[in-house]
Symmetry: none
Subunit: 407 residues, 2 copies
């Protein structure tokens, strides 16, 4: 089974956005045992959409098309595909009433253009949209499978996950596991597993890095997940031996998800006192539902004034050591615990830049403190990169410090 992915949207061709949908769909199709041979991006133009569809259908069994399903005039994917395949568009009363309800619930006037979204290709399978009004479609046409999905990733991804496994034939499946590591750089991680990478065992390993986290993807071909799991077991065990506690999870889970899970499991509460991360650590800890079980709250003590009144850091201490210091970081964590009775106090103070550095404290200097069971530890970190990267690295390192505390 050969597949091809077509993204429709002039905003991609002017460089306003990146085609992340192609990456997502490629990864999933590979997991389902379908090889992707081409990606194409084309603008919101009827003629050119038909041109790329013609090429794609001449060389691929499955064509996945994303984008151009919105209510506006330059959304014309559905119309172009139907014209090319000579399929009629007909109104779907279920979709029409769900769109009407969507607008009624939001107390927004529905305009004429929204009705456009209720038209579906005759004979197609309608893929309902949990996150927006544009439905997707699955069309089985002359032994070719054509899938049409909305462009916004937040709508496309759940629709893909909900429906596509069912409609795309599986022969052999690519089975993958993701081993997620914090505390080891990508080159070093790769160097430590070079022998496993070069082994001719039908198991491939690849590393990816993201804000201090390294993921090793371990992949094999298997008929089903039980067989896949069996084939990968010894390799995953070997990775656990080599990386130990630096592995924060061998499931498909983020660091903040893992930390939330550990806090719940250990019935621990936490209070965050953060400065340079400006609320990011609190935001990450509350990303998923259920955070009220462990997250009491956070103080975003961005100014010295806030550090003084909300975290009781004496003015003299700030004056003497500076806000970015081991002493201030320690007091922030300790006072967060003292004032809220949280089991864990987590503090972050640093220089995210680009300004604010000194000779002894360059941009990227960040102190992270943790106070738990009457003991406080402070770690000094030096991160590289721009403001966004430094803030994300500091937040990830903070989460990892909570994780290690709970192990």
């Amino acid at each position: 089974m050969k597949a091809e992915i077509i993204a429709v949207g002039t905003e991609l061709l002017i460089g306003q956005i990146t085609n992340t949908n192609a990456r997502y769909i490629s990864e999933k199709l590979n997991e389902y045992g379908v090889s992707v041979f081409f990606h194409t991006v084309v603008g919101d133009n009827n003629g050119r959409i038909k041109e790329v569809l013609h090429t794609a259908l001449s060389r691929s069994d499955i064509v996945v098309i994303t984008g151009g399903l919105g209510p506006t005039e330059d959304d014309l994917t559905k119309e172009a595909v139907c014209e090319y395949l000579d399929i009629r568009l007909e109104i779907d009363e279920d979709i029409l009433s769900s769109i009407e309800e969507y607008f009624k619930n939001r107390n927004i006037t529905m305009v004429q253009s929204n009705i456009k979204q209720a038209y579906v290709p005759a004979g197609s399978v309608v893929l309902y949209n949990q996150k927006g009004t544009a439905p997707g479609f699955f069309i089985d046409h002359n032994e070719k499978k054509i899938v049409i999905l909305p462009g916004p990733p937040v709508e496309m991804e759940p629709m893909f996950d909900d429906y596509l496994k069912k409609y795309i034939a599986k022969e052999a499946t690519v089975y993958s596991r993701f081993i997620n590591i914090f505390g080891v750089g990508e080159s070093i991680a790769e160097e430590r597993i070079l022998d496993l990478i070069h082994r001719q065992s039908g198991i491939t390993l690849a590393t990816y890095a993201n804000f201090g986290q390294v993921t090793i993807r371990v992949t094999t071909i298997a008929e089903n997940s039980a067989e896949g799991e069996k084939k990968l077991k010894s390799t995953i065990d070997e990775l656990h031996t080599r990386f130990g506690n630096d592995i924060y999870t061998d499931e498909d889970k983020s660091l903040s998800e893992k930390v939330a899970e550990l806090l719940c499991k250990n019935s621990k509460t936490i209070c965050v006192a953060e400065s340079c991360t400006g609320g990011l650590v609190s935001k990450m800890l509350t990303d998923r539902a259920g955070a009220s079980k462990f997250f009491l709250g956070g103080i975003v003590a961005y100014s010295n004034f806030f550090k003084m009144i909300y975290l009781s850091i004496p003015g003299e201490v700030l004056e003497k050591h500076g806000a970015v210091s081991e002493a201030v970081c320690r007091s922030m964590a300790e006072n967060a615990v003292r004032m809220t009775n949280a089991d864990i106090g987590l503090s972050v103070t640093g220089i995210a830049g680009p300004g604010g550095s000194t000779a002894e404290k360059p941009v990227g200097t960040v102190y992270i403190g943790i106070c738990s069971k009457g003991t406080t530890r402070v770690k000094k970190c030096s991160f590289n990169g721009d403001r966004n990267k430094i803030r994300n690295m500091a937040a990830a390192a903070s989460l990892d410090m909570i994780r290690r505390e709970l192990l």
Copy 2:
């Protein structure tokens, strides 16, 4: 001038990496007045590289190819292109010695495969690589321009910037402005400008939506930005008349950037008291450097306990009205001001879901309060979508409320 971008690399087709090069090159080519009509991704396969090159040369004046220039066996872009164009590869002594030097300087043994990188297409312009060993090429062939660049963005981007402006003729430039709106849905925004969209004036308008924000892109062809600005002026003025204060900026700027700018300009300080957004509003206000001028700090009052001790909300009020209520939201904003003397107190409390809803307060119910100059206003919002979308919509609506307060 029509251009097309081809990325070569199986790692893109298995979803291991995203084709960010296409976005970068598209944005730059548009700046240089070259329209991009297609992006294509193809694997490391000689036949298929030639196939997509054939299609590209049949419909575009400029073809930019990235990737597949490394030293290994599956790097075969240069070879496939030269075979297709019937151009000989010849050794370039300058490149050979620079590669030898590269390895000598790093004390690494040069292997035979590295010599492959010293072969260049006869008659091409060699583009030197400041960040790696693989050179790029510019080939002028039968009135078509073919550019070959290395795949890693860190090598490709400086090479593109150093050379391409020189080799890609400028005739006309696409000039765009972005009008950013908050408070009007995408369909309604489009309906209000349908006459401008349908006008045959050489000015195109397109709308995009993101977390409650709508962007109208207004584009024309001009010799330079001064002419572009002049051609777009009356359309932009018209949009200002139609959308008024719902336009938060007509520059290429985010809502949080605009709010930060207004706070600075008006010399106002702010304190944020947020619950369901969990730190996101504070994080957005501190995304850019210089936030210390206006952002005193934030209280992430996720638990009732935090609302009581840090925002002095009486237990009885929480009990009587519930944490998600007009009364609690009002007190949060007022007490944020009272306790910090900030010019503006901003509060957010709501149900981000998926749990926690009641019959009267469904998921997506969010109260946003603002206290300024002794007056407090509270707005009740109903957002739709998943937890992430509701949190982002609530944060954007909060920023917009600050913006309107400062107008």
